[in-house]
């Protein structure tokens, strides 16, 4: 018997990233955040703002549609934004010693 039913492609489920972040331990550096947008105007002009999608912890969010803000305390320092931002508009440093994510399992 031929299985010829049209197998439709499984699409991508909608996930709310905060549910993921609940599992992570951070030592948040309130005094010196390690990420910053160099020139906010560039983000407003940026057509598709890919950072909102490619960041694995969804730290980049567009407030009222255009201005992009970074939830720095969620960052896991993977470095993707530094190199994938189409305009290299992110000032990217490692957090100060001892701060940032601290994986419990890894």
């Amino acid at each position: 018997m031929d299985k010829n039913k049209q197998v439709q492609k499984r699409e991508v489920p909608k996930v709310f990233v905060d549910d993921m972040l609940m599992s992570l331990k951070y030592f948040t550096d309130e005094q010196e955040p390690h990420l910053a947008i160099i020139d906010p105007e560039v983000c407003i002009a940026c057509k598709d703002q890919p950072c909102i999608d490619f960041c694995p912890v969804g730290a980049y969010r567009a407030q009222d549609g255009r201005t992009v803000q970074i939830a720095v305390q969620s960052c896991v320092e993977c470095g993707t934004c530094r190199v994938l931002c189409p305009y290299l508009n992110i000032s990217w440093k490692n957090p100060r010693g001892g701060f940032g994510v601290a994986y419990k399992f890894g």
Binding site: P13, D53, P56, T80, R82, A102, F105
Partner: protein
């Protein structure tokens, strides 16, 4: 406030696989070694699939297993799973050549293991300084003779600095050992979930006789939705480690959210039952350098050596990264010892580091596979057409009962050629062969 200068024989930047190894080897030979780790503790910033390889571990500590290392399950079954949209072809091997004592690979969790691995280096005499970020180098008449950190009075001096800073090699770039940042076509972003499950459920669902058996699986096909990337499945003691890595440029073009791609993988009809009623213990993300030879920085200069991910020492196809880091860490440590014996820390003396690595699998494999990341980039069909074809072919083959086999083979053949013209498919195979052989 104490104010005298902080002087060491060797400074190692980063207490990961490469760093703690280099420190242990140098300290073992009597050198005064400092390891500067930016995390709260060694292991806090490290994340992988993944498995450690026994050959490298026992090479550093012959009595490795007597030291009760914090490992998860031994890998007794390994191989490939080719996922189609709703099925899988499992090509795994167990027993036979894989059944060794000790086993060739162990699943591990980096936070616990890397901390333990750094403690072994401390036992050799290395001094581990956590919670401190190296921000720059110190120079004396043009030569590196120490590092600056982000702490007040944060300078440390040593004639040899071994950089093991990981994939985001900002210091290596700052020193000019490489003229570009991480390449988006030769680096993958991997996201993973560690899902806790009772050990007996893992054993039952994966067909493992007991908790002393484990799996390390490379998952290809539907997991990356045709993007160039790989999925994986590892069995921890009472948890499953499931993740997927996708090359950065492919990720950007797709517009996919990494955690949603991962969720889709976890909801795959073959995967979902494995993790039913599991509780997510931790989600994480990390870059994997896949450029190997093509994105490797200069490995040494006056007073400086580079090892591990910072030097792109990862062979993605074979999931080899930690063993390369350990082997390179050892050679860097030995090179530092020799330099101290000679009292000369010039690039010429330190070049022995690269010579040694060239004779070992580290540079040999990376050179051989130097075309691999480009190959995978230009042949995405290995990520969707062929895995799906494999599923269809075997699916038809094993349900072709009572039908003339001649037609069956024609249908199987057509299920390939309808997706990929024969000549092109043969061409792909040849290209794969060449990328693997490295010609």
């Amino acid at each position: 406030m104490k104010t005298e200068k902080l002087e060491f024989d060797v400074i190692v930047v980063g207490a990961g696989m490469a760093g703690s190894t280099a420190a242990a080897i140098a300290a073992r030979e009597g050198l005064k070694v400092a390891v500067i780790e930016r995390g709260q503790k060694p292991g806090a910033k490290n994340y992988f699939g993944g498995a450690l390889y026994t050959h490298a571990l026992v090479d550093i500590y012959p009595d490795f297993f007597d030291r009760q290392p914090p490992l998860e399950r031994p890998v007794t079954e390994t191989g490939f799973w080719f996922l189609s949209n709703d099925g899988v072809v499992k090509a795994t091997v167990q027993g036979g050549l894989v059944d060794n004592d000790p086993v060739d690979a162990f699943v591990a969790l980096r936070s616990e293991f890397d901390l333990w691995w750094s403690e072994q280096a401390a036992a050799e005499g290395a001094f581990i300084i956590p919670k401190t970020l190296v921000t720059d180098f110190l120079f004396e008449d043009g030569r590196v003779n120490g590092v600056k950190t982000d702490r007040p009075q944060g300078d440390l001096y040593a004639p040899v600095v071994i950089i093991c800073e990981g994939v985001n090699n900002l210091l290596t770039q700052k020193l000019g050992l490489i003229d570009h940042d991480v390449k988006i076509n030769a680096t993958a972003l991997a996201v993973k979930q560690l899902i806790s499950l009772p050990a007996k459920d893992i054993n039952a669902r994966l067909g493992l006789p007991d908790s002393n058996h484990g799996m390390a699986i490379s998952v290809m096909g539907d997991v990356s939705m045709g993007l160039s990337g790989l999925g994986f499945l590892y069995t921890a003691n009472s948890a499953l480690s499931l993740g997927v890595g996708v090359t950065l440029d492919a990720l950007q073009e797709s517009g996919l959210k990494p955690y949603e791609l991962l969720q889709r993988y976890l909801e795959h009809p073959v995967i979902a039952p494995l993790i039913k009623d599991g509780q997510m213990m931790e989600y994480g993300a990390h870059l994997i350098p896949e450029g190997g030879w093509t994105t490797m920085p200069r490995l040494y200069t006056d007073g400086v050596l580079v090892a591990g991910d910072a030097a792109s020492m990862v062979n993605a196809l074979h999931w080899e990264g930690t063993n390369m880091a350990i082997t390179a860490g050892k050679q860097a440590g030995l090179a530092a010892v020799e330099a101290h014996k000679k009292g000369d820390f010039s690039a010429k003396t330190l070049s022995v580091y690269q010579d040694r690595l060239s004779e070992l699998f580290v540079l040999k494999d990376l050179k051989q596979y130097r075309k691999m990341s480009a190959f995978l980039k230009n042949h995405p069909n290995f990520m969707d057409i062929y895995p799906t074809f494999l599923n269809d072919a075997l699916g038809m083959f094993f349900t072709g009962f009572g039908k003339p086999k001649g037609d069956l083979y024609k249908k199987i053949f057509r299920s390939l050629t309808s997706r990929r013209p024969l000549l092109k498919a043969v061409g792909d195979l040849v290209a794969l062969g060449r990328a693997v052989i490295g010609i």
